[in-house]
């Protein structure tokens, strides 16, 4: 009897699954499969795909380096106004990405609050560069990482850290050897979400970094522009992006589970 699944859960679960998968199936059914290999091995698609993978991975690294400590701060410190900070961190989640891109331009653009000094003092201009793509993707994707890692920090039992401290471990050693391993599943989940979001990023990227082949044209931008003239090509490009991301995520997942 215990193995019987309650209908109240199974029915919405199945509907939910269908809701997520049916549009995907539509894409697969409509795809002009004959042109797939030609598209897959075309120089332009290869370039956009490489750029997408590179930028999403770099953005994920940026998010890990900055996001994990931020999550720790939000979960463990007794900072005043922590609740407000926690809410503010999620702003990029609710902000339409195009608005996020405009906000980045207003701050880091050539005439932006900070950007004008970067330009005058160091000759650095971020819009229309690959670094700009990484930045735009990191801005949009970081909250995904922070939220899941923060949840893990809060769920982790602080008594292990206290035990380590009483045994004479420094705070940094405790963090590295005790806290971090205990929140690893949260970090992994957050990293996956963050990378996936960065890979599919469109609005902030095209607004902040623009669109130029080989420099800032990532796959989602290529898909959008292909849609203008050749919807079939756009479908094929989407499937390429889909297959690559599923392959990467599935591959990493196996490795993590084994480890």
């Amino acid at each position: 009897m215990r193995s019987r699944l309650p209908v109240v859960l199974v029915l919405p679960a199945v509907i939910g699954l269908a809701f997520l998968l049916v549009p995907l199936a539509g894409l697969l059914v409509e795809a002009p499969w004959a042109t797939l290999p030609a598209q897959l091995f075309s120089a332009e698609v290869g370039q956009a795909l490489r750029l997408s993978l590179l930028c999403a991975s770099l953005a994920t690294i940026v998010c890990l380096v900055l996001g994990v400590p931020l999550a720790w701060l939000l979960a463990r410190s007794d900072l005043p106004g922590r609740g407000l900070l926690r809410a503010l961190v999620t702003v990029p989640l609710v902000l339409p990405p195009v608005v996020g891109g405009v906000a980045l331009l207003l701050v880091l653009g050539r005439r932006g609050l900070v950007g004008q000094y970067l330009d005058q003092w160091f000759g650095v201009s971020l819009p229309f560069t690959t670094a700009g793509v990484v930045l735009a993707e990191a801005f949009v994707a970081m909250p995904f990482l922070v939220i899941s890692v923060e949840g893990a920090f809060r769920a982790a039992d602080p008594r292990y850290e206290e035990a380590a401290a009483t045994l004479g471990a420094s705070r940094w050693l405790t963090f590295r050897r005790v806290t971090l391993p205990s929140v690893m599943p949260g970090v992994v989940a957050g990293t996956v979400l963050c990378w996936a979001r960065a890979l599919g990023e469109f609005g902030a990227t095209i607004t902040f970094a623009g669109n130029f082949p080989g420099k800032t044209t990532t796959m989602p931008l290529a898909v959008y522009l292909a849609l203008e003239t050749d919807p079939d090509a756009a479908i094929v490009l989407s499937i390429v992006l889909l297959l690559v991301s599923v392959a990467v995520l599935a591959g990493l997942r196996d490795r993590w589970i084994r480890a």
Binding site: V102, L105, L106, G109, R110, R111, S125, P127, F128, I206, T207, A209, G210, N211, F212, P213, T216, L221, Y224, L225, A226, L227, E228, T229, P231
Partner: protein, 250 residues
């Protein structure tokens, strides 16, 4: 007594209502107009004037890129009228039979150089677009303004050095008005509608004149009112609004 007065007044009012609704032509009800993004300001104005001229009508607009609109119409979107920014996008719809009427050209648009206020890059003509040290934005070739830009550069024998190829003309304008680029090619009407950018004329602009076609959609839910709207756009009143927005006469 009071009740009777109210009843009579109500009757009179009802009578008035039925006479002000358009008399015999059947031009009333709602119509949905799919129009190119560059028509946003002028068509919104035209819609208001049309509603005033034909009481009982209501015009709803869907403004977007012409190619996106063409795809929506081909997929069966319930539209009455399609006004495209390029004949190519109109052809996408006539090819599938979603539009069977012959499209009429109602306006022409040409390109103009857009620069940020004060023209910081000191841009004077099309030749400046080849300078590597200037930040340049153009539309991607897949969208009409990008195709037009390609034509003028070919005519002027200039190899442009763009830093970004944007997905539509409004995105290009954003980059100019924020001062992120020194120059861009957009439509003359866009420069006119945006007070944060300045326009610079160039000689080769007439090498890429963009025709705007309009047509009634074959399965228009409200064909009578839709035809009246098309006629209004092509009329003298319509012409006036379009000219004010910077469009040239067809």
């Amino acid at each position: 007594m009071v009740k009777r007065i109210v009843a009579v007044a109500a009757l009179l009012l009802a009578g008035c209502g039925s006479t002000t609704a358009s008399p015999t032509t059947g031009v009333n009800g709602e119509i949905t107009v799919f129009a190119a993004a560059s028509l946003t300001e002028s068509f919104t104005e035209l819609g208001k004037e049309f509603e005033a001229a034909h009481p009982g009508t209501k015009v709803t607009f869907n403004f977007a890129g012409s190619s996106a609109l063409a795809q929506q119409i081909n997929k069966g979107a319930p539209a009455d009228v399609f006004a495209s920014a390029a004949p190519a996008n109109m052809k996408q719809v006539t090819d599938t039979g979603a539009i069977t009427a012959t499209p009429a050209t109602f306006a022409k648009n040409t390109l103009q150089i857009a620069v940020p206020e004060g023209n910081p890059g000191k841009v004077t003509g099309l030749a400046d677009f080849a300078k590597a040290d200037l930040k340049i934005a153009l539309c991607a070739e897949q969208v009409p303004c990008g195709a037009a830009a390609k034509k003028v550069f070919e005519a002027a024998k200039i190899t442009a050095a763009p830093d970004t190829l944007e997905q539509d003309v409004k995105a290009v304008l954003t980059k100019v008005s924020l001062g992120e680029v020194d120059a861009a090619l957009v439509y003359r009407t866009d420069v006119k509608a945006n007070d944060k950018v300045e326009g610079v004329d160039f000689a080769e602009a007439d090498k890429a004149v963009n025709d705007y076609p309009i047509a009634l959609i074959a399965k228009a839910p409200n064909a009578a009112a839709a035809q009246a709207f098309v006629d209004y756009v092509l009329s003298g009143e319509g012409r006036k609004v379009l000219t004010e927005a910077g469009f040239a006469a067809p």
